[in-house]
Assembly symmetry: C3
Homo-oligomer: 284 residues x 3
Amino acid sequence: MSENIHHTATSTKQINVTRRSSHYCRITFDHPPLNIFGPETIPQLDEVITALETDEDVKVVVFDSAVEGFFLTHYDFLARLEDTTRLPPGPTGLQPLPDMLVRLSRAPVVSIASIRGRATGVGSELALACDMRFASREKAILSQWEVGAGVVPGGGPMARLPRLMGRGRALEVLLGADDISGDLAELYGYVNRSFPDADLDAFVDALATRIASFDKRAIGETKRFADVASLPPDFEIAPEWGVCLASIMRPAAQERIKKLMEQGFHKPGDVENRLGYHVGQLGR
Amino acid sequence: MSENIHHTATSTKQINVTRRSSHYCRITFDHPPLNIFGPETIPQLDEVITALETDEDVKVVVFDSAVEGFFLTHYDFLARLEDTTRLPPGPTGLQPLPDMLVRLSRAPVVSIASIRGRATGVGSELALACDMRFASREKAILSQWEVGAGVVPGGGPMARLPRLMGRGRALEVLLGADDISGDLAELYGYVNRSFPDADLDAFVDALATRIASFDKRAIGETKRFADVASLPPDFEIAPEWGVCLASIMRPAAQERIKKLMEQGFHKPGDVENRLGYHVGQLGR
Amino acid sequence: MSENIHHTATSTKQINVTRRSSHYCRITFDHPPLNIFGPETIPQLDEVITALETDEDVKVVVFDSAVEGFFLTHYDFLARLEDTTRLPPGPTGLQPLPDMLVRLSRAPVVSIASIRGRATGVGSELALACDMRFASREKAILSQWEVGAGVVPGGGPMARLPRLMGRGRALEVLLGADDISGDLAELYGYVNRSFPDADLDAFVDALATRIASFDKRAIGETKRFADVASLPPDFEIAPEWGVCLASIMRPAAQERIKKLMEQGFHKPGDVENRLGYHVGQLGR
């Protein structure tokens, strides 16, 4: 990966890039205490993904977390909305977050999400944009929680989930908006496989090391063919973002988010840990 | 749901609508002894689905059965064929049964099939048109039995099953025409999940109650995006119906249906209970 | 099946056709010791598939193997490349191997792969072109090993695997290039189901016998509708072949294949038995 990947502003650095070898990179979310993803995370992730697109050596990247309990969680609702909306579209013409995710899916590099802790909202969307997902049986929780808060998801899951697990299970994930355990995620195909927590790292590392030993061009060409059969077209993802933003502005969402905030949203504790349960209480 | 939903002709009422709350409805098939679906069921189901399309309050509907052993089973082969063929196409331009099913899938309401007993033929097709399906591990049987009787299915399963479970398993369901247990249905993704019979109702009710507490607009918009990625186009379903009717008229089907009738088809008993087994004996 | 199917040149006969009944055929790969698929296998398989397309009686075919440990394995890298490249395109305009596979998928006959032993490369691709796949839990190994040798697969798996099991698992199979056990193949939907080895034959034979008792026209029409929803278009498969051949010519593949040859590739032994392991060692 080119050097510029190491130049993310250290003052607010939320993503660590570690090079295990010239061919194998770890991208580690490290924004304690919750790995919340906000507008200031966007340029950092963009830098990582731009580097992956152009690096001539890297063949495989593993996304993981340095924060106990959280792989990567929901968007930052404490940030000013303008800090998000003022960001210009990315190279694909999509808004920055969906832009980065579709670019990650198409990058000539194998991306693996190693999920331990919550992958909620943006965290789930990033995992879904990766080529493969593996989860800790005991510690992974996947969730598209948004509908539970009156919000329409915005980073592609309506386009990606049905292609991965079929319409019925995708609609349960999206409209049930509940926490999905590692076991259920495996049954549904939300992740490739779940492993006992003690085995997850060894499995992912062995797979990444294996792929890193293969020919980069054969990897890229094979992936590109599979992309044709498996990636949603960008125009299907494009409208999600605007509808998501519009939904956030509506009273139904504002009231629910306000209630969640009063209960401890965005702070370590039960609301963040069991977000699925808590959104289920808001409208009763 | 608007009041007209309660006005189905009581003389032959086969579908009960119960309002658990303004947001949550149960649609219960109650046509003992077998929950056979015939031409006279069509206007009743149409009334239910039209109401779901326009009701401004309802967010979630659960389809279930009041008949022991049968969720909803095959079409009525004792009814005069003209009673079916004389019905005009529905609003989508499709024939009435596939018309209602595609409208159910697109309704701005979450539909859940709670399957206990046989979901055979039309019963399976209705379940497949719902947004989600949950089954009793011990008591659910799903089946597209038609090919076993020389008949081509007509209500959409060739379009829906491969998208749900992949080509291989879909072709086994369609061309094997056998009874599928709750466990196998879960493995194949024919249903979202199967539960021990004692747990099914509590799970489905909790999920429906949960979704009923969410914002209707966020539900509808999220579902509409997922529809784009997951629903077959109507033109793919459209030709199934005519080919189904034509197949029924052919000697291969007429002879098989006649044999089944002699053995007890359309009456409570082993043929209806183990239809998969019995169609497997017809051509030997 | 018409008689000409029995006229494959006996001197190098690698495929046995057995007629269990007028409606049910077994196609048995019998090219010991490894069931390697080479240019001389192509006309033999073409003859079989042409017969299946035109036979007016046959309803179901089961592909299996007479060779212990191998269902059907990779392409023959000892054969002269010209013996493959000089073969003219088939009736679909595709090159011979992908041509036969897409024709098998569209044939008005139900095709079932009964997998015991390795289904590697071409063997996996043939299984994927079948309508259904069943595997021995203990003895089946599925594998798209190609990327591990610097080669891009050429017989359609990038088009078929994501439609069968979703993008994430398909990319793991393709880019991990590792051996997949019967159990994992079932979890991933790579096969319909895996059975204890002792039960596989009875299950497959009962299913084939069952389907053979059904009406051929109802089978064909139902399958054709499911094809629309589940088969990749030929133009998606078409470019795989040329890219595969080009990849084989590159030094990255040539070096890897040479190393494998030195270790025992194409001979009975550990390299062939555990090809997934061995390709994982080549680039370290």
